[in-house]
């Protein structure tokens, strides 16, 4: 039962997305084109985040720790 409610909720959510982005009034091939483009962009964002965010965080951490380390050696 709970599963059906969750499915209904997701189908309501999908309907909301269609209404808000005007997919409901587009023709089917336009709809698939729009969904494909949106999913592609979303997938690229996720891939970029997965590949690059850890490296950026590590580099930023090293940079700031070097600055704090430099200051502490200067103050000595």
């Amino acid at each position: 039962m709970d599963f059906r409610r969750v499915k209904e909720y997701f189908s309501w959510l999908y309907y909301q997305y269609q209404i808000i982005s005007c997919c409901a009034v587009l023709e089917p091939w336009e709809r698939s084109m729009f969904n494909t483009i949106l999913l592609t962009i979303f997938a690229m964002v996720v891939y970029t985040a997965y590949v690059f965010i850890p490296i950026h965080i590590r580099l930023a951490w090293e940079f700031f720790s070097k600055i704090c380390g430099y200051q502490s050696t200067i103050s000595n």
Partner: protein, 552 residues
């Protein structure tokens, strides 16, 4: 609050007529008389609770999504136009001929782009043919489209007993033939159906005279004149009243017929913000101080054009303040009561009676018979000299066919019903039923959480939908539930404020209204339309200043 005496104006706000303690002002006897009378009746804040209007703003995310939706539609529109231009897709819209491709383009402006790409997708919600009288229930002809709304075909079926929430049937008089319409049948037998002439030539019947006398009695004015078509009444008579060298101050949300009449007249037109007295006063003062644009001569005439109820907003004109302004600055007032005659006021005599004002306060009364009287045509009423002048000089009188006799008889019958001249109280009962229905419907809609525009007492109820695809989904779902609504989108309303407009009728029963409210509740949850942030009470947004001053 220090108030300089004798009708002075501070900071552009009219303090003059609203302060009841200044009994010794000169020249404004009528207004003070009304205020004093109201005070003697024990109601000092007479006009305050009549002008409770709310125009709530939508939450920000709604506006963002609306513009985003239009943006996506526009992008797809460009894409489809590209495909059509390069011949990849067949073009169903109008295009120029091959030989004219190098001429000035005809179909590239925004209006054509919008029609071709955005309106066409949801076009099945408008121009739906009906096949019965537009009473509280009506029959809609079913139609489908095979090529995404470029062409339609009728399936042959009829959707019966759809609840009618869109027709202007305020008093429920637009119904099928029943026994009380027997006089119309007699008139049809005696006079036939057509007049075959204009008013000036051979088209003035005794039925027209009877109708005009009855209308003058109904409105409590000296004389009235009727015309065959409501739109033509406005557009053909305003040019007869004003011309070059005159100034027209018209509300920015006036109907197209008024705008057309004003433009045809050749006068200078200056619009003022909707129902905004400060703006109107500023324009009046500028006009009187600076005169005509180049020559600085005084204006020959200043005419203020307003409507009784604005059909897209549901707001009622702020008549007491406008009349006070017009008397102070010596302008003329033309009021179009198309939606408010028969629907407002304790006995249905329109906005003037709603505010309890003197019949002489408005110079030109105009109205139509389409909405509350179940007929067609328009009238202009006022002083006898004015109406006599119009009988000779109006374009409509000289060139347009006069009103058909059965139509005139239907108006006479409705007028007698409303005024109580047929011996029953049915007319008064209908008016009271309309007021009751309006109050009930508006209260319930506010409780449910929809954003509604307009005055609490106006029978025209716009429910805001905002997004273009919600407009389409709303209209389609409501028709599936057998409720017929009118939705309005971009050219008639601002881009971001698409709405559904309900017209309450005296013929709606409580069950019908409850059915509609239940359907609206479900639609509100399905489409997420309940944007209002004030669920229980409607706050008066306009006229806050007025309530402050009356408390003075």
């Amino acid at each position: 609050m220090a108030n300089p005496g004798g009708g002075a104006v501070c900071n552009g706000t009219l303090h003059n007529h609203k302060n009841p303690s200044h009994g010794s002002q000169s020249g404004n006897g009528t207004k003070n008389g009304i205020m004093k009378e109201a005070q003697q009746n024990g109601k000092p804040h007479f006009y305050e609770d009549l002008i409770v209007e709310s125009f709530e703003e939508a939450p920000l995310h709604v506006l963002v999504f609306t513009y985003m939706g239009y943006g996506i539609g526009t992008l797809f529109g460009y894409f489809r136009d590209f495909l059509r231009n390069w011949g990849i897709e067949k073009c169903n819209a109008a295009v120029e001929r091959e030989e004219q491709k190098d001429f000035v383009p005809l179909y590239q402006d925004f209006e054509n782009f919008y029609t071709r790409n955005l309106y066409m997708r949801i076009r099945d919600n408008w121009n739906r043919p009906i096949c019965s009288a537009p009473g509280p229930h009506f029959d809609v002809v079913e139609r489908v489209s095979d090529d995404y709304n470029w062409t339609f075909r009728f399936t042959g079926r009829i959707i019966k007993d759809v609840i009618n929430m869109g027709s202007y049937n305020f008093l429920g008089l637009a119904v099928k033939y029943n026994e009380s319409m027997k006089t119309i049948k007699d008139v049809l037998e005696t006079y036939g159906s057509g007049v075959a002439s204009t008013r000036h030539e051979m088209g003035t019947l005794d039925k027209h005279k009877e109708l005009e006398d009855l209308m003058a009695k109904f409105l409590n004015v000296e004389a009235a004149m009727v015309f065959g078509m409501g739109f033509a009444t406005n557009s053909m008579n305003i040019p007869a009243l004003v011309g070059k060298g005159c100034l027209i101050l018209s509300d920015e949300l006036n109907h197209t017929s008024i705008v057309l009449g004003a433009r045809l007249s050749g006068a200078t037109i200056r619009p003022f913000k909707h129902n905004n007295i400060e703006d109107l006063e500023k324009l009046l003062r500028e006009a009187i101080i600076y005169g005509q644009p180049r020559t600085r001569r005084a204006w020959k005439k200043i005419l203020i054009l307003v409507e009784g109820i604005y059909s897209m907003e549901g707001s009622i004109v702020n008549l007491p303040q406008i009349v006070a302004l017009k008397k102070k600055y010596k302008a003329y007032l033309y009021m179009d009561e198309a939606h408010s005659i028969g629907a407002l006021g304790p006995t249905g005599r329109g906005v003037r009676e709603f505010f309890g004002m003197n019949p002489d306060d408005v110079d030109v009364y105009m109205g139509t018979f389409t909405k509350s009287f179940g007929s067609s045509g328009g009238y202009i009423a006022g002083k006898k000299e004015l109406v006599d002048y119009l009988r000779v000089h109006s374009h409509s009188a000289v060139y347009a066919t006069s009103m058909s006799p059965p139509i005139a008889e239907q108006i006479i019958r409705s007028l007698k019903l409303i005024m109580g001249l047929d011996g029953t109280t049915q007319g008064l009962q209908r008016i009271q039923q309309l007021a009751k229905n309006t109050k009930y419907f508006r209260e319930k809609l506010k409780e449910l959480g929809f954003i509604i525009y307009g005055n609490d007492k106006s029978p025209v109820v716009p429910v805001l939908l905002y997004m273009p695809s919600k407009v389409a989904a709303f209209a389609r779902h409501m028709l599936e539930r057998k409720i017929g609504v009118v939705v309005v989108g971009f050219p008639a309303t601002p881009l971001a404020e698409a709405r559904a407009r309900f017209c309450i009728s005296a013929a709606h029963t409580q069950e019908m209204l409850d059915t509609v409210l239940e359907a609206l509740d479900e639609m509100g949850d399905l489409l997420h339309l309940k944007y209002s942030r004030h669920r229980k009470s409607a706050r008066p947004v306009l006229n806050d200043e007025m309530s402050f001053e009356l408390d003075d």
